[in-house]
């Protein structure tokens, strides 16, 4: 096990395209770090640089105490789980698991012992002599993880490992990965574009955008205090409502409608409101014009607009719904962002009690 340190890491492709534009990050021993971001944000490139599959153009990557910029992937003491699993199709499951160990000249008894242990943990003992093509998607996924676990490396690297599974299996495997990490406590770096996967798995969440880190922190901290409009819009489903607003004399207005009072900012801002933080009650002439309702079973989503700007409200089933509704928003639920650079305006409103405390 080891910590991983990235300092000033850049990836510049021939032709001058900068995929990663200077990333500094500390990954502590045993930590589960998730890189999340839209496609093209550089998250996979960053992971592949840690793995040694891409060269580092600038900066330094350390695994443990060692600078690994020029170390071969095989000698970095890492194991990787690929998106398409990358199982060797001509080898049985057992051979797939033992390949990396045999290449490292491990004694036979030790290989057998490790494979048996790993197979038991992942419940793949029954398939050890099958070829990958005779396995289902979920079973292949387990074998791919088994191939990483059996090596007992300093760190696991996951490159969108669940994106080829169907929704139900994905949820199940997400739980298993979490469970495995509890059990093995190996430093893990996990790349995904799925914000839900990122929120649920991460000890530390790294949101990337355009080759840069937007924000790093515990998932709930990021959810509660997003540092920028990008993070605010990326985490959470349905996404945070982002409205063009302006503050005039301490009052927040959207168009001509006053939403809130007691705001310590001035001029045009972007107001962020999570769907679950907005409450609406039926009131003829209210600012919220309902367009349609989405029934999710346990709750419903109200789609509508305020002064022509789209707004989604998460509403409990017992609440009444009408075509015109008035909005109620707690001041601490409001997020304000600069119009110019999209960064969070801190101390603009009375904040919720420190989010970090709440996560425990």
């Amino acid at each position: 096990m080891a910590q991983i340190t990235l300092s000033g890491v850049k990836k510049i492709y021939p032709g001058g395209v900068e995929a990663v534009k200077g990333v500094d990050l500390e990954i502590a021993e045993g930590e589960f770090v998730v890189f999340v971001g839209p496609s093209g944000c550089g998250k996979s490139t960053l992971l592949r640089m840690i793995a040694g599959l891409e060269t580092v153009s600038q900066g330094e990557i350390r695994i443990g105490d060692r600078v690994v910029n020029n170390v071969e992937p095989a000698d970095r003491d890492i194991a990787m789980v690929f998106q398409n699993y990358a199982l060797y199709p001509h080898m049985s499951v057992r051979q797939n698991l033992s390949y990396g160990l045999k290449n490292r000249k491990m004694p036979k008894e030790e290989i057998t012992r490790r494979i048996d242990d790993t197979a038991r943990i992942l419940q793949i003992t029954d398939y050890l002599d099958r070829k990958p093509r005779a396995l289902s998607g979920g079973q292949r996924q387990r074998v791919a993880m088994g191939r990483a676990i059996v090596r007992d490396p300093a760190a696991f690297l996951f490159d969108e490992p669940l994106s080829n599974l169907d929704a139900k299996l994905r949820l199940h495997m997400r739980g298993e990965i979490k469970h495995l990490h509890r059990r093995l406590a190996t430093t893990s770096v996990y790349v995904t574009h799925d914000q839900l996967e990122a929120m649920t798995l991460a000890d530390k969440l790294v949101v990337l955008n355009g080759g840069r880190i937007e924000q790093v922190g515990k998932p709930l901290d990021l959810y509660r205090r997003p540092a920028s409009v990008f993070v605010a819009g990326f985490l959470g489903a349905p996404a945070m409502n982002l409205l063009d607003a302006h503050v005039d004399g301490g009052a927040l207005h959207v168009g001509d409608v006053q939403i809130l009072q007691g705001v310590a900012a001035q001029g045009p801002v972007i107001a962020g409101l999570r769907p679950e933080d907005v409450h609406a009650r039926v009131q003829p002439g209210g600012a919220f014009r309902l367009e349609f309702v989405e029934e999710l079973g346990g709750m419903r989503l109200l789609h509508g607009s305020v002064e022509g700007q789209r707004l989604i409200i998460q509403s409990p089933l017992q609440a009444e719904v009408g075509p015109e509704m008035a909005l109620q928003i707690a001041p601490e639920a409001l997020h304000l962002f600069n119009v110019a650079d999209g960064m969070r305006i801190t101390n603009a409103v009375r904040q919720a009690p420190e989010a970090a405390d709440a996560t425990g």
């Binding site: 793995a51 040694g52 599959l53 071969e72 992937p73 095989a74 890492i78 194991a79 990787m80 690929f82 998106q83 398409n84 990358a86 060797y88 199709p89 001509h90 390949y99 990396g100 290449n103 490292r104 070829k131 093509r133 191939r147 090596r151």
Partner: protein
């Protein structure tokens, strides 16, 4: 798969459309083949004025003839050596092209060129380069102390036809190997790299086994090529000599039939070659369709 079915109103149009192809097949393949089969049971008099039915005598004579069996042996050596050399070099070139990023299209194009050269021209080309008197390779070999003479030395002659035949076939093999390599997912090689396999080990334990369908296909195609398409090369370089050292089966058909004018025997040899080709085709369809390996 869904196939779109065309229906024709008139009865004669579909036949008219396939008629040219049928005509070519009939005139240039079926008719000569039938002629060869008929001829192989006949013996002609020395002046070509009459012929009589001799049953299987042409075949039994052939199989008792040490010269013919020697030609078989020469063909096996030639085929094996040519297939091994051309496939080996093609695989090396394909691996090289697979590794380079810049201008690999350019190199690919260059490697494909020899395929466009007619066999006889390729033969003449190599004949010149290895010419005992004026050849550039003969000169180079002499510098390093080897006295090359493909007109007297049967090993030299065999080497020459193998090199010339391989050179032409490398392009074809190369294309298939490049395609085969591209169909192996990059992540498999990356996984092997992380699993601690060096480039050489990676090739032998992951890449080569996954290429085996391509390799097997090429093996059959190459054997077919060396047995039947190399007449031009042999004729232009060694003409089967010296002392029949490069007299492969397909060349012997020509020599006995068109030079020796022993049409019955030549026809029997053609029929045997046809049977070999049918067997190879059968092997190819039988095994390649339901791929041998993983």
């Amino acid at each position: 798969m869904q196939t779109k079915r065309m229906t024709f109103r008139s009865h004669w149009l579909p036949y008219a459309l396939i008629a040219p192809q049928l005509a070519v097949t009939l005139i240039f393949f079926i008719w000569p083949a039938a002629q060869a089969i008929r001829q192989s049971f006949l013996r002609e008099d020395p002046f070509g004025l009459s012929s009589r039915f001799v049953g299987l005598a042409n075949y039994t004579r052939l199989l008792d003839n040490p010269e013919y069996l020697e030609s078989f042996r020469v063909t096996v050596v030639f085929s094996t050596a040519t297939a091994a050399l051309s496939m080996g070099l093609a695989l090396l070139l394909a691996l090289a092209v697979d590794r380079i990023i810049r201008a690999n299209q350019f190199y690919t194009t260059l490697v494909i060129w020899p395929y466009a050269v007619a066999p006889a021209v390729a033969g003449v080309l190599w004949w010149f380069m290895f010419n005992p008197t004026i050849g550039i390779f003969t000169y180079i070999l002499e510098v390093v102390g080897y006295d090359w003479n493909d007109r007297l030395n049967s090993a030299d002659a065999m080497t020459l036809v193998v090199v010339a035949a391989s050179w032409k076939q490398i392009s074809y093999n190369f294309l298939f190997f490049v395609a085969g390599l591209q169909s192996i997912p990059m992540s498999l090689r990356e996984a092997a790299a992380i699993d601690g396999a060096g480039p050489v080990k990676r090739f032998f334990t992951v890449v080569f086994p996954l290429l085996s369908p391509t390799t097997f296909f090429l093996l059959v195609v190459n054997i077919t090529y060396t047995m039947f398409d190399t007449f031009g090369i042999v004729d232009a370089t060694t003409a089967g000599g010296p002392n029949r050292a490069t007299n492969i089966l397909v060349y012997k058909v020509y020599q006995d039939g068109f030079i020796g004018l022993n049409l019955g025997s030549s026809a029997a040899q053609s029929v045997i070659l046809m049977l070999i080709v049918m067997a190879l085709t059968f092997v190819q369809f039988r095994w390649i369709e339901r791929r041998v390996q993983y």
